[in-house]
Symmetry: C2
Subunit: 158 residues, 2 copies
DNA sequence: TTAGGTGCAAAGAATTTGCCTTTCA
DNA sequence: TGAAAGGCAAATTCTTTGCACCTAA
């Protein structure tokens, strides 16, 4: 069955090879912001013949076709996510590397005005917050508290 | 004569060697957001015996001492700037890589509230705008228009 | 005098590329 | 079938590190 990203690929007129289909599927199923190594593990799990070079090439291709977006989010490696239906920003948990996405349409509009003030047309903007879960007096909390025990590459919250 | 950054170094109790003094001076005089290669050229111009390894080590040291801040600003290489007297954000001219700094204290406060909403204490935040100079009907403009002809590493506007 | 810093060259990590083989349309 | 894509390994780019020699305090 065709994955969401695979549909975007064919819509963009990309030649759909086997590796691209696998990568598209892995990306479609990713709930997080994986880096290339992480994607490599996941594609290998599906088909170990797919090489790292192909992964890099494909991810670039998808990026240039506007299907994927590259993020840095504080780490050295680039991380990827499907291009937004809507714009959003990122809040990174420094203890677990998990990423929470959030909207701020007003802020976005404001940033367009800031750019305009300096004589610029805004092409893109990044807002990245880095923080740690509040350790408060009591145990009460607003957001469900993830088991922030394993500081690793992936993230889940969305 | 002692540079501003050199004073910060001694204030932090760092051992002031010759290479560190030169690097501190180069950083003090930088009006832009240079990357390590750029800093290397500038220190070599002062004293060609200073090695790239020392530059990396020094820049790390300064960063950990809170004297410098590392930025990415869209490029692969890390770029550095003296730690802020005040917080600010960056607007990058995509055609020239020049960087304009701007304040948005209200936005910053808002981002603290956003983080709090998710149960986080905000440690740091980045707001980076990427844009191009507005090409308008007439020639009138608000900001002085830099000769955005040479797309290179450095930037100047502040 | 000696702990800490430096230079040099080699090692690492992340990513890109050359080249020959394979595959999709 | 032919142009585009993939695999593999080597090359690049940016950054870090081991080690023997130097230098600031």
């Amino acid at each position: 069955m065709e994955s969401r990203i695979e549909r975007l690929c064919t819509a963009s007129g990309l030649r759909m090879t086997h590796p691209r289909r696998v990568i598209a599927r892995v990306l479609s199923e990713a709930p997080d912001h994986p880096d290339v190594q992480e994607l490599y593990q996941r594609t290998r799990a599906v088909d170990p013949r797919i090489s790292l070079a192909t992964l890099y090439r494909t991810v670039h291709l998808f990026e240039q076709s506007g299907i994927l977006e590259r993020r840095n989010l504080g780490s050295r490696r680039a991380r990827y996510e499907p291009s937004g239906e809507h714009d959003h920003f990122h809040l990174v948990d420094l203890d677990s590397d998990k990423v929470i996405e959030f909207d701020e349409p007003e802020t976005e509009a404001l940033m367009h005005r800031v750019a305009a003030r300096y004589g610029f047309d805004l092409v893109s903007l990044r807002i990245e917050l880095f923080g740690r879960r509040t350790r408060h007096n009591t145990e009460s909390r607003k957001t469900p508290q993830g088991s922030s025990s394993t500081p690793n590459t992936g993230d889940q919250v969305r």
